[in-house]
Amino acid sequence: MKICEIEKHLGAKALTCLGLLDRDVTSACGSDMMSDVLAFVKDQAVLLTGLVNAQVVRTAMMMDMLCIVFVRNKKPTQEILDLAEENGIVIMTTDKRMYDACGILYSNGLNGADING
C-alpha cells in the first residue's frame, strides 16, 4: 500500500515529507508504548499511535519506519514535525481512534507482521 493510500483510507492529513507519499509499505503496527515497539516490531514501516512526543519519531528512526500516523486527532508539535522532516519520516494525523484506524488499514490489505523474537 502506498503511504498516500493510508492517508486516503484514514481521511488523514500528511504533515511532513510530502514528496515521499508514493512510497510503498507492506506492514504496520499500533502501540502507545514505544518500549513494546522496540521489543516486538520488525520490518514494519508504519506506526499508528496516540502518543505524541519526540521519542515516537526517534523510535521510528531506530526501527527504520517510514510513516507515523497520530490517531485521535493528536497534534504533533513543530519540534516533532521538524525531527520527522529531517529524517525522512512521513507524519500524518487522523481523527480515527486507534482500533478503527488499524481495522481500516488491515481490512484494506495492510497487515501486521510476525513478532520479532
Binding site: M33, M34, A39, Q55, T59, M62
Partner: protein, 140 residues
C-alpha cells in the same frame, strides 16, 4: 589501533526530548560506513534503550562507542542510584519507572531485556548509590 573509531557522547538527563540523539548520530555514521542494515538496527535500538534508561533512571550519563573491525562496543556509564537486583531488572515487564515515564511511552520493563535481545554480549556493573556501567557488544 588506527582503525578503531571512537565516539563520545554526553547524555543530558534533564531533557527527555533530546534522549536518543546520540543513538541517532551513531546510526547515521554506521550507515555512512556501509554497515549491514540489521547490524545498524541492533546497535541503534540497544543504544537507544540504554540512553532512555540513563535519562529515566540516572539523570543522564556518558556514552562511548568504539567501532572495531569485528565488533561494535557501546559503553554507557551513569552516576545514578544503581540497580539493586540485576537479575530482577532483566526480567521482561519488571520496571521501577514512575507513571510519568510510562505516560511518555517507556517504562514497560523492556529496556534491559531489549538491550540483551539485540546484542551479542551485555555486561552490567552496578553499585547501589554509585552508578551503573553497561557494556554491550554487537559482533560485525
Amino acid at each position: 589501533m588506527a582503525d578503531v573509531l571512537k565516539l563520545h557522547f554526553d547524555v543530558d538527563g534533564d531533557d527527555f526530548t533530546s534522549a536518543g540523539e546520540a543513538s541517532a548520530d551513531v546510526k547515521k555514521r554506521l550507515r555512512l560506513m556501509g554497515y549491514d542494515p540489521e547490524i545498524i538496527r541492533r546497535v541503534s535500538i540497544a543504544m537507544y534503550e540504554g540512553e532512555i534508561n540513563m535519562v529515566i533512571h540516572a539523570g543522564g550519563g556518558v556514552a562511548d562507542v568504539s567501532v572495531y573491525p569485528d565488533k561494535i562496543e557501546i559503553v554507557l556509564e551513569d552516576k545514578g542510584p544503581g540497580i539493586p537486583d540485576i537479575a530482577l531488572a532483566m526480567s521482561e515487564g519488571f520496571s521501577t519507572a514512575p507513571d510519568t515515564v510510562r505516560s511518555l511511552g517507556f517504562g514497560a520493563g523492556m529496556g534491559l531485556p531489549n538491550m540483551k535481545r539485540y546484542t551479542d554480549e551485555l555486561h552490567i556493573d552496578s553499585k547501589v548509590g554509585e552508578g551503573t556501567k553497561v557494556t554491550m557488544i554487537v559482533n560485525t
